[in-house]
Each structure stands twice: as C-alpha cells, then as structure tokens.
C-alpha cells in the first residue's frame, strides 16, 4: 500500500500537468509583480511576489496564505523538473545532451535560490580624495557600540535594527554590558526599501550613564565605562572590508544639450596591505571591479560630481547562471549534432 501511494506521488511529481500549472502560476506572479512595481517599488515588489514562499492576506490578527509565492512555485517546479528527468530520460550516452540541458536548467533554479538567500547588496559612497574600508546597507540600520580604547583598532559591537525593540534588554556575551532599548522609532523607507528618513533609539546602558538618545542623522555619543572609552551610534549597517578604496577622480558626462547622464566612471586606488597590493582601477557603468568575492558597480553620484556611489554586490552563486547557460548550450549542441549525424547516416 505505501508503495502504491508513493508511486502515485512520484508520477504526480513528474507529471506534465504539474509543469504547466507551475508555469501558469509563475506567469501570474510575474504579471502581478510588474504591475505593482510602480507603487511598491522594484525591491519590495520582487520581495513580495517572487522571493517569498507565499502571498499572505491579513484578516485582523490572522495571516492567511492566499497564493504560493515565487519561492514555493520555483521549488515545486525544480522538483518536477528533476523528477521528470529521472522518470523519463534514459540514462545513456545517447541522451547525454538532454541530461546536460536539464542539469543546466536545474542550476538556473538553484542559482536564483542562492541569490535570493545569500546575496548581499550594499553601497559605498565615497568623496574624491577620501578613503573608505567599508560599505553600507542602505536598507538597514545598526546600533554600533564602539570600544575605541585601543589605539590600534576599534572593537565594534553591532546590534542589528531587527533587535531594537522597546523594552528589550540585550546582554549577549560579546557585549561588555547590557543595553536596554527604552524607545525606538524605525527609519522612514522609500519605495525601494532604502532608508530615506532618520531612525532614532533611546538606550540605557546602566551604571552612572544616563539614557542616551541616538539618531541616524546625528553624531555618535561618547561615554566611558571604567577605563574604557566608547562611542555609540545609530547608523547604516556597515560591512567592513580587509582592504580599502580611495577615490582619486570621478567623472560624469551628459548628453549634449540635456541633463541626462551618459557616462560615469570612478578612478579608485585599491589598497590591500595584507597582500602588499596597491593599484589603480577604473570602475565605470559596464565595467565593475571584481575583488575579494565582491563586485563594485558604478551606481550614481552626488555633491555635484565629487561623490561617487558604488553598488557593492556579494553573491556566492554568481557563477551559477553562467554555468547553467553553458551546460544548456553545450547540451543542445551535443543533442543536435547527434540527431544530425543520425539523419545524415539514415539518408545514406
């Protein structure tokens, strides 16, 4: 009996009807995402329709899933593809091309999952002549408690925005003292989910120090605890790099007679003391800098052309789409050549 049920499940998982149903669901999700992009913004629309497991509706305090999201549909489609491949495709050299095509498609799905789960996008806004060794997440704040006692380095304790809730006391072992969140107001976000207005937090670190008010658009506050000196700041979450970039020159050109930018580029000096590396790199709109597992794209600029904003993307699965396309291309070519050889042999 269990074998019979299992057999039915297996046939259902490998069925063409399931493939068509998933493709139809994906088409509906892509259409909805496209139409709502104008009101939600690109980031929020993709997060809501494509990267989430379900689309929810709220009835009072009840959160009810109404429709599978792109993550669920993609997972079912991936299982369907793999099941169909194993159920119907002969395991032989004659079908090697088709196996390669199917594996390529599987890698495409996996690549999208890896991107959705692990990709980190930050920004590096740097002025001409300045040097930075960190990028910032434009969508999240952090409460940073910085121990600046040691003259050689800063010891940073980063409390993410998600943990800042009124009445909550944070006392993880990494922190030298407990931090109680008295009040907290999240930052205002724009349509793309980026911080557009300041956030604020009031913290109580106990002892003789009074409650501190911090805002993301204000200076850090200094205080002491025994012989140690600290600063506390509410700021965009930083991702520090083991190397630095110095902006030597930023250039932007506009189309003649218009205010439309035609070309951006940043000439930077990359310095990695641990490798003794120091070189100039030109980052332009279609030529990112790829270094240390990250890609730096020229994104925008400010301050009348003296501030360059680089988009920093870290995606461990960035090679998967290329691998996928290569596999599918080679698989189709191999299958085509085999069929062609068969046809030519048959004609003779």
């Amino acid at each position: 009996m269990p074998v019979r049920i299992f057999g039915r499940l297996w046939r259902g998982l490998a069925s063409l009807k399931l493939t068509i149903a998933c493709l139809a669901a994906l088409m509906a999700l892509v259409l909805a995402c496209t139409l709502t992009q104008a009101s939600l913004g690109l980031y929020e629309a993709v997060r809501f329709y494509i990267r989430s497991p379900f689309l929810y509706a709220y009835f009072g305090d009840w959160k009810v899933p109404l429709f599978p999201g792109g993550a669920s549909v993609g997972l079912i489609l991936l299982a369907n593809l793999a099941a169909a491949q194993f159920a119907r495709l002969e395991l032989s050299w004659r079908k090697a091309g088709l196996w390669a095509v199917h594996f390529g498609l599987v890698f495409l799905f996996i690549g999208e999952y890896v991107t959705g789960m692990f990709q980190v996008e930050t920004q590096l806004a740097i002025e001409e002549g300045a040097t930075l060794n960190y990028s910032e997440d434009p969508r999240r704040l952090e409460l940073a408690v910085i121990d600046e006692t040691d003259p050689g380095y800063d010891q940073i304790y980063s409390i993410p925005q998600g943990l800042l809730r009124p009445g909550k006391t944070l006392a993880p072992p990494q922190l030298p003292f407990a931090v109680r969140i008295e009040r907290c107001s999240p930052p205002v976000l724009n349509a793309d989910g980026m911080v557009a207005g300041p956030g604020a937090v009031e913290i109580d670190i106990g002892g003789a120090d009074p409650v501190m008010s911090l805002a993301s658009d204000a200076q850090a506050r200094s205080f002491s605890r025994g012989k140690r000196r600290y600063r506390a700041a509410l700021r965009l979450k930083r991702h520090y790099l083991p190397w630095s970039l110095t902006l030597k020159d930023f250039r932007h050109e506009i189309y003649p007679g218009t205010d439309i930018p035609s070309h951006f580029s940043s000439l930077v000096t990359l310095s990695n003391p641990s490798l003794g590396e120091r070189r100039n790199v030109l980052i332009s709109m279609n030529e990112p800098l790829r270094y240390g597992g990250k890609a730096f794209y020229q994104s925008s600029f400010g301050k009348e052309g003296t501030l360059s904003v680089l988009q920093v993307v870290e995606n461990p699965g960035w090679l998967l789409p290329y691998l996928s396309c290569a596999l599918m291309g080679l698989g189709l070519l191999a299958h085509f050549l085999r069929r062609l050889r068969g046809s030519v042999s048959g004609a003779r």
Binding site: W10, L75, A79, A82, A83, F86, A87, Y113, M117, F118, E127, G129, A130, T131, L132, N133, Y134, E148, P151, G152, Y153, D154, Q155, I156, Y157, S158, I159, P160, Q161, G162, L163, L170, P172, Q174, L175, Y240, S244, T246, K248, D249, R251, L267, T269, S271, P273, R278, N280, E304, G305, T306
Partner: protein, 184 residues
C-alpha cells in the same frame, strides 16, 4: 525506486541557511587611521619628497584621504596639497574638471596654454591656473591651482574659496609655491 533514490541523493541540499538578526563583534581599523588609508608602495616617491615654508598666519588643518597637507588661509580660503601617482589624468583633464566645478565650460589645449602661467621653485617649474566661476554652495567661486609634475607623481596645490578671499591670499600662496624644494 532506484531512480527516486538517485534523485534524493542528487537533491540533498538544505534551504535552511537563513541569516537571523544576531549581535556581531569584530575589529576594524580606526577611521582616518593609516590602516584605513592606502599604504604607499616603497618604490614610489612619498609625500615627504617635498618640503615648503608655510607663510605666517596660515593655519594647519587636519588631513584625510589623499591630502598631504591642508591649510586655512585668511579665514575663508583653504589650501590643499595632494600628491597622486603618475600623470593623474593629465593637466588638461584636471583643469577642465575644476572649471566644471565652478560652472565653466571646458577648454582645449590651446585655451589651456593661453591661461597657463609658470612659477619657478626649488622643486621645479609649476603650472599655475587662476579659475573664477560661479559661486558654489559652500561659497567657493575661485580656484588658484599650481601643478608640479615629478618623475613619479603629480602634485596639486589648490587654493579654494570666495573670490575676494583667494585674491587676498594669492600673494602669500605664490610665496609658498616658490619655497617648494625637494626634501632631504
């Protein structure tokens, strides 16, 4: 059954790698520290390759990034000293960039030659440019820039500020430029 077992073996990877909110602790270089600034390679000429005499009344200001030195001059004008490797983009490109900052159109090589003055110093000949344009948000409307090219570097001495402040500081700026000499 065998095919299904192969499928299970093939698809055995986890989706459970979600990053939750956790407190992080790490070390970072101090801001504006040498560890955060680029390390000068041993074979290139370093900033101490030049020395100068700052006129009386100039105020030494903190430096950051690529600035070698920075002075407050007469209250509203500021002099920055920057040394960049190689030709640093060339004189024409840099002059046009400064002109662009003041809302002026760019010039060609002929136009550049027409506005170039030369100042002799102990470190070599400097090319001098006096650029006046539209006032910027910070009040800067005039740039007096001297460029010194050496074998490995290009030095930029840029006096910036409102028109009248730069005009008052020009004489002492030229005294400063003539005092330039190779260090050591």
């Amino acid at each position: 059954m065998k095919k299904f077992q192969s499928l299970i073996a093939f698809s055995a990877f986890s989706f459970s790698a979600c990053s939750g909110d956790v407190v992080e602790s790490y070390r970072a270089a101090k801001e504006d520290s040498p560890a955060a600034a680029p390390a000068a390679p041993s074979q290139a000429a370093g900033p101490r390759d030049l020395s100068w005499d700052a006129p009386a009344g100039w105020t030494r200001l903190p430096v950051s990034g690529m600035r070698v030195a920075s002075f407050g001059v007469g209250g509203r004008a500021e002099l920055s000293v920057v040394a960049l490797p190689g030709e640093a983009g060339g004189v024409l490109a840099n002059v046009n960039r400064w002109r662009g900052q003041l809302g002026l159109a760019g010039v060609d090589q002929g136009g550049l030659d027409a506005q170039t003055r030369r100042i002799a110093s102990g470190a070599g000949e400097l090319l001098f440019f006096d650029i006046r344009g539209k006032a910027q948000a910070d009040g800067t409307s005039r740039l007096a820039v001297a460029v010194l090219s050496t074998a490995e570097q290009t030095w930029f001495f840029k006096l910036a500020g409102p028109d009248e402040a730069v005009a008052r500081a020009l004489a002492s700026f030229q005294v400063f430029l003539r005092s330039l000499r190779r260090a050591g």
